[in-house]
């Protein structure tokens, strides 16, 4: 036993530990939380910029930001392509176009990208590409999904034009009309292409 307890009368008076009651939670509080969370979600949807690291106040989204980019004409087209590329293709092929080993081939100085036979290039994102393909002397054997099938013609044309003119590449632009023509011509095709089929195209 430690010190003389009488030296501190307060110690023995009313030193029972508190007890917890079991009153039920007020329902209005739970409802308030749900309403707040819903409202907060709405707010974030409108003003949140959807987790994009490029959207700063006062802009609302990358699309919103695009309207303020100080270019016109070809510059705007390529800029649109860059934005679409970073949203759709960069995940696998890299923002620098170098690709990732075992995942996606490079676009930099790639014969498939800067080819004059633009039909080959347009078909790859439209229907996808399976099986062995040689890119810059390196063999690849993967499956690329039809990432461009859902894109509008203008966006697909912009992203392909961007790839053909970025990272040191230099090639002609691809127009939305070309993309529309290829889409119409391959409308019945559901299977992904193979490299052999594409090489056979004229």
């Amino acid at each position: 036993m430690s010190h003389n307890v009488q030296s501190n009368p307060a110690a023995s008076v009313n030193d029972a530990e508190p007890r917890a009651g079991s009153a039920s939670m007020p329902v209005w509080m739970l409802v308030a939380v749900m309403v707040l969370v819903f409202g907060g979600g709405l707010y974030f949807d409108t003003y949140g910029g959807w987790f994009s690291p490029q959207v700063y106040a006062p802009y609302r989204s990358v699309n919103d930001l695009m309207a303020y980019q100080p270019v016109s004409g070809e510059g705007a087209f390529l800029l649109r392509g860059k934005v679409v590329y970073e949203q759709v293709c960069a995940l696998c092929h890299g923002a620098d176009g170098n690709g990732k080993p075992g995942q996606a081939p490079t676009f930099v100085d790639s014969e498939w990208v800067i080819t004059d036979n633009t039909g080959r290039l347009i078909r790859i994102p439209l229907q996808g590409l399976n099986g062995p393909i040689k890119v810059k002397g390196v063999d690849w054997n993967l499956a690329m999904p039809a990432m461009g099938a859902a894109l509008p013609d203008a966006d697909l044309a912009a992203v392909l034009s961007y790839m053909r003119n970025a990272w040191g590449n230099k090639a002609s632009l691809i127009t939305p009309e070309e993309v529309a023509a290829v889409r119409a011509a391959t409308a019945s095709r559901t299977q992904p292409w193979t490299a052999a089929e594409l090489e056979a195209l004229k």
């Binding site: 036993m1 430690s2 010190h3 003389n4 307890v5 030296s7 501190n8 009368p9 307060a10 110690a11 009313n14 030193d15 029972a16 530990e17 508190p18 007890r19 917890a20 009651g21 079991s22 009153a23 039920s24 939670m25 007020p26 509080m29 739970l30 308030a32 939380v33 707040l36 969370v37 907060g40 707010y43 974030f44 003003y47 949140g48 910029g49 959807w50 987790f51 994009s52 690291p53 490029q54 959207v55 700063y56 106040a57 006062p58 802009y59 609302r60």
Partner: protein, 481 residues
Amino acid sequence: MSDTSVTSQPPIPLPSQGEIDASCRLPILTLFTGAALWLLLGAIGAMLASMNFHNPQMFADNMWFSYGRILPAAKTWLVYGFGLPAMFGIALWIAARLGKTLLSNSGAIMVAAKLWHLGVFIGSFGILCGANSGHEGFEMPSYAAYMLLIASVMISYFGLLTIHQRNETEMYPSLWFVIAGLLWFPWILSTATILLHVSPVRGLAQFAIASWYVNNLQLVTFALFGMAAGLYFMPKLSGKQLHSKYLAFFSLATLVLFGSWSGLTLGGPLPKWMGSLSSVAAVFVIIPVLAHFDNTRRSCCIKSSAAEAKFFSLSIPMLLLSVLLAAVGAFVAQTHFTLMRTAQSVLLLQGFMGLIALGGIYHILPKVTDIKLPSTKLVRLHFWCAVLGVLFIALPFIFGGWKQGGQLLHPSGSFAEVSKVVLMHIRMASLGELLWVLGSLLLALNVFGTAYQWVRGIIRPVVVEGTSTVASQLEKAGVKA
């Protein structure tokens, strides 16, 4: 002995409250005496900082007292020197008392507490000498942060061990908050230390992480420990039962979920989504505070005869006001970059955390040392100094900050217009700082008075023994001369 079953063994007697208190004595004395000292220094430091606005020339030749050095040092003294040690002490004592077990490894905890205070000492004087880290709310240099990290890991470990070894299996809600707080603080401190000091992240990521850490320390950790204290002391001192443990659990769940996300500001240099998410969370965090308020108001102890009871009752409205200000401030551009942010911080740190820490110290210290406080009148006086002090700082800052924001949003030619508007309010707040200094002196008197009595109580028998005459010693030994 083969038929000896567990049920036939006599039950191990639970330690008495006196024994539990005695096991907490050394760590709590270390924590609280240091806390009282740092509070005094912190209050004086804040006072000196505000002197810069009365007379900018005052410290023009003095490096240590210049605003940019004395203010971070004062904030470090308040938060790391006073706040966290007091909260740790309260948490450990509550854990031991509610678990009806002795505090585990109290010697090791005392060593950790000493390391902590050493870290605060080195860190705060490091700031004064120019080793300010640049991160607001975490200004101490890296070497001090490492010391605090080791100390806090030790304190948390032994605190959680105490809870694990509890004899009372039914967990009172305060224990939940203590567990969460003891878990969370080393986590956030280690994250901040590693990502800002050991291997600093690049660019603005530092700002995001520092803001996250500071918010999780000042709002979440202090609210976790503060709510633990409120849920424990208010029913205890009022004699009434805590209203609802389900509401307490709801407060805990919503506090950890929403509170930890708040802290970043809208419209800053961070990408929009961070500010938006954080501001939304700042609104949500009103819910746990309201729930806690609702829970404790039914066992409000403001009419209790104990001198420290009022501290706990007034702390919760301060917290509520602070989170309301933060929620409004997140979305109203007029409050950005103004003194309103400081007001919200004062209400949180000195209003809520400070009052709880003070109430806890005044309640626990006499119990663990078994020595009555030198003067309960000073305790009551301190209550008024503390509350009025906070109000005299926060209210001018709120009104001044609002005006400052108005001037910032409507540019005139010269920035002097903004400074002019602010000056009078900062000067008025100096009165509040003075009251806070006075209050800290009262705390120091009581705490060091108790410590002195305790030391005297140890030394006196030894001295008496050593200085008694040979005759009386022989008589004691039963040898007749």
